[in-house]
């Protein structure tokens, strides 16, 4: 039974978070979009240049490279995090002292700040003083070299965020009625059948929610990448946020950096619409 959308109490309830959201999210995004039409070095005066920054963006090879890196990183993050979180979520959802204790420890990486995680892993992965040095076959390998840096960052990021998605899957799995599995086994279904035909379909909304969070989070991921590689070596790990930061805060080219930022916001918006919008993958009525 739904209350009418004109219920004043409901409107008030919605308006407060909307106002908060408007001030802290929408306003800065609009501000960034506005900045993209200016040339500004961050400390001097601003100069209106219309769409010049956007024109430059289309011709910028560093931008298209950063876009590519963003997508590759996002894909890698999704490919690593989703199966692992799904598996762990189901594992931890079932009874057992070991499982319950392990679940608590598995949650720890999420509690650290990205900066702390970055610094710890930076020391651990140091080719000369870190873990790899003490494993002779791996000595001399640099996980943060041009070839490996992006993959390493994706793995470290996954290490940090898998616990979160594990929780999502764990909770969702626990919501699946036992009777379904009992009925299936009575009908002769094996474990794999049960997983494929019961678990996965019923977890579909969770998979989409989790994927959405991974995708948008990875597209905009900055802290860990900056702490560990600063977008390097060269431009090997320069994704869009890192490129934005370098432009705005290192090269003192804030107007152009804002252009990258506005593009990123629009990209994230587009992807959200695709996934969870009205006609999106989740939006469609599911029966």
């Amino acid at each position: 039974m739904m209350r009418s959308t004109r219920d004043p109490g409901l409107l008030l309830l919605y308006s407060i978070p909307l106002l908060f959201y408007g001030l802290t999210v929408l306003l800065p995004i609009l501000g960034t979009l506005l900045l993209s039409f200016y040339r500004w070095d961050g400390i001097g005066g601003r100069e209106w240049i219309g769409l010049a920054n956007w024109g430059q963006l289309l011709r910028d090879e560093h931008f298209s490279h950063a876009l590519k890196i963003s997508f590759v990183f996002t894909l890698a993050a999704w490919v690593v995090q989703t199966p692992v979180a799904l598996g762990l979520g189901i594992y931890f959802a079932q009874r057992g002292l070991f499982r319950q204790t392990a679940a608590v420890f598995a949650f720890l990486p999420l509690l650290f700040s990205s900066t702390a995680v970055g610094i710890i892993w930076l020391y651990m992965l140091d080719p000369n003083l870190g873990i790899l040095y003490y494993i002779p076959p791996l000595r001399g390998l640099n996980p943060l070299s041009e070839s490996f840096a992006l993959a390493t960052l994706a793995l470290v990021t996954s290490w940090q965020y898998i616990p979160f998605h594990t929780l999502l899957y764990q909770a969702a799995y626990q919501g699946i009625p036992h009777e379904l599995y009992e009925a299936a086994s009575l009908d002769g279904a094996g474990e794999w059948d049960a997983f494929w035909h019961i678990t996965l379909p019923l977890l579909r909304p969770t998979i989409i929610t989790s994927s959405f969070i991974i995708v948008v989070g990875s597209l905009t991921y900055f802290d860990l990448i900056w702490v560990m590689t600063q977008g390097g070596p060269g431009y090997a790990t320069t994704n869009l946020p890192v490129y934005l930061y370098r432009l705005a805060f290192q090269s003192q080219n804030v107007g152009y950096g804002a252009t990258v930022g506005a593009f990123l916001a629009l990209l994230a918006l587009g992807l959200s619409w695709l996934l969870v919008g009205r006609s999106g993958v989740l939006g469609r009525r599911w029966s």
């Binding site: 070095d41 961050g42 400390i43 001097g44 610094i119 930076l122 020391y123 140091d126 080719p127 000369n128 003083l129 001399g140 390998l141 640099n142 943060l144 070299s145 041009e146 840096a149 590689t229 600063q230 390097g232 070596p233 060269g234 431009y235 930061y245 370098r246 805060f249 290192q250 090269s251 003192q252 080219n253």
Partner: protein, 419 residues
């Protein structure tokens, strides 16, 4: 009624005086001396309390940039002078200290020291730390074992690299991930090959400045060095701030490091046994055969500076604070006791008396006294719009992802775009 008067007084009293913030990086000189100095200052100036806020080196640069842009934050801020400070001066966020600096204050320091903060004949900061040329550090034990002498020419350096590498030791450590340690190679090579005019053309952004043959040659020599793989594994992602590069050097797993003299203080701080052992050696950047530059020329930072922001809440106290620091004999002695050399005049004798490391300090002071020319670190002298892409391209050059010619072409294009 009394309650209200009390409340007003309570709110009013702090605004009679005004506290101010001193922003600086984490570096041994600030870490160890400033807290005590500020404590003394606060005791004597209850109405103008100073508060020290420190940041990690690489992050500080952006943090400062954002704060100055927002005109909020520091009253006094640590900086490296040069083109970066100049961009802040042009934006109107740095206080012109010329009227406040009397001749006595000016004469306290070497003329060289004031160069980094002099723009259009006005002064925008005061020297705050110590002379910081860049020199080679080396491990004497490793050299002894291999019967090597400190190289005096570039070929000798390359030969040493080969010998050390053959012995299974990392010839040179460098924090290539931070990028700025890489420019120390080029700033010296360019000067050794072509003399001061090379970089002067770049700073003035004269047409074709980057196409000076010395730049191309310096880039070629860099490629020549990099081709030998002289650096530690993972050098391209090693960051200066983590101290891992220093640790490799101090523990004898690497033989040489090209770094500013502040590294000496850091070694004293983090690896005192290594310094005490007497195995820490040093030599000036070798000459390049066929080069036109004077081999006595130096590159590096003149010194660090402290400037006052134009939006400071308490300019008079900030300036007094700087004056007191500049005239603090205790600070001079502190620096000398830790192996550093303040950019002060006439302290040759003082170095011999008070210097805790007279060999080292005599070496550095001698270099500075005799240097006909001293070029400011390229990434501080260039405007930020050029400095950042320069560092990026330099790293690519060291990685041998771009050729020397392509490096020159890219930099010329970038410089032309800024003219």
């Amino acid at each position: 009624m009394r309650k209200w008067i009390g409340l007003i007084l309570l709110l009013g009293v702090p605004s009679l005086g005004q506290n101010f913030e001193v922003w600086a990086i984490n570096t041994w000189a600030v870490d160890q001396f400033f807290p005590k100095f500020i404590q003394e200052w606060n005791r004597k100036n209850p109405n103008a309390q100073a508060r020290l806020i420190q940041f990690e080196n690489d992050l500080y640069k952006q943090r400062l940039f954002v704060a100055l842009g927002a005109k909020s934050g520091p009253d006094v801020f640590y900086n490296w002078g040069g083109g970066v400070l100049e961009s802040y001066v042009k934006a109107g966020v740095v206080e012109d200290l010329t009227p406040s600096i009397d001749p006595a204050w000016k004469n306290r320091f070497l003329d060289l020291a004031w160069r980094g903060v002099t723009f259009d004949g006005r002064l925008y900061g005061v020297p705050s730390t110590y002379l910081q040329p860049v020199v080679w550090f080396y491990n004497k034990a490793v050299f002894r074992r291999l019967n090597l002498q400190p190289p005096q020419t570039w070929s000798q350096l390359l030969a040493a690299v080969d010998r050390i590498k053959a012995a299974g030791i990392t010839p040179i450590v460098v924090a290539g991930g931070s990028k700025w340690p890489l420019l120390m190679y080029q700033e010296y090579l360019a000067d050794r090959i072509g003399g001061p005019e090379v970089f002067e053309g770049i700073v003035a952004n004269r047409p074709g400045a980057w196409q000076h043959p010395a730049i191309l040659r310096s880039a070629e020599l860099i490629v020549q060095l990099a081709a030998k793989n002289p650096f530690q594994p993972g050098w391209e992602s090693a960051q200066y701030g983590t101290g891992t590069v220093r640790a490799l050097f101090a523990t004898g797993r690497a033989a040489m490091q090209l770094m500013g003299v502040w590294e000496f203080g850091a070694l004293v701080d983090e690896h005192p046994d290594f310094v005490k052992s007497g195995d820490l050696g040093w030599f000036a950047f070798p000459r390049v055969e066929g080069g036109q530059g004077d081999p006595r020329n130096l590159a590096g930072n003149f010194t660090n500076y402290l400037s006052v922001s134009s939006f400071s809440r308490n300019k008079s106290a900030s300036i007094r604070f700087l004056r007191e620091l500049s005239f603090s004999d205790e600070y001079v002695r502190f620096l000398l006791r830790n192996g550093a050399i303040p950019p002060a005049r006439n302290i040759g004798n003082l170095i011999r008396q008070e210097g805790a490391y007279p060999d080292w300090q005599g070496f550095v002071y001698g270099l500075v006294e005799k240097a006909p020319y001293y070029v400011l670190s390229w990434d501080q002298a260039m405007p930020p719009q050029l400095a950042q892409p320069y560092l990026d391209n330099l790293q690519l050059l060291f990685l041998r992802r771009i050729s020397a010619q392509e490096f020159v072409d890219r930099m010329q294009r970038l410089a032309d775009g800024l003219r």
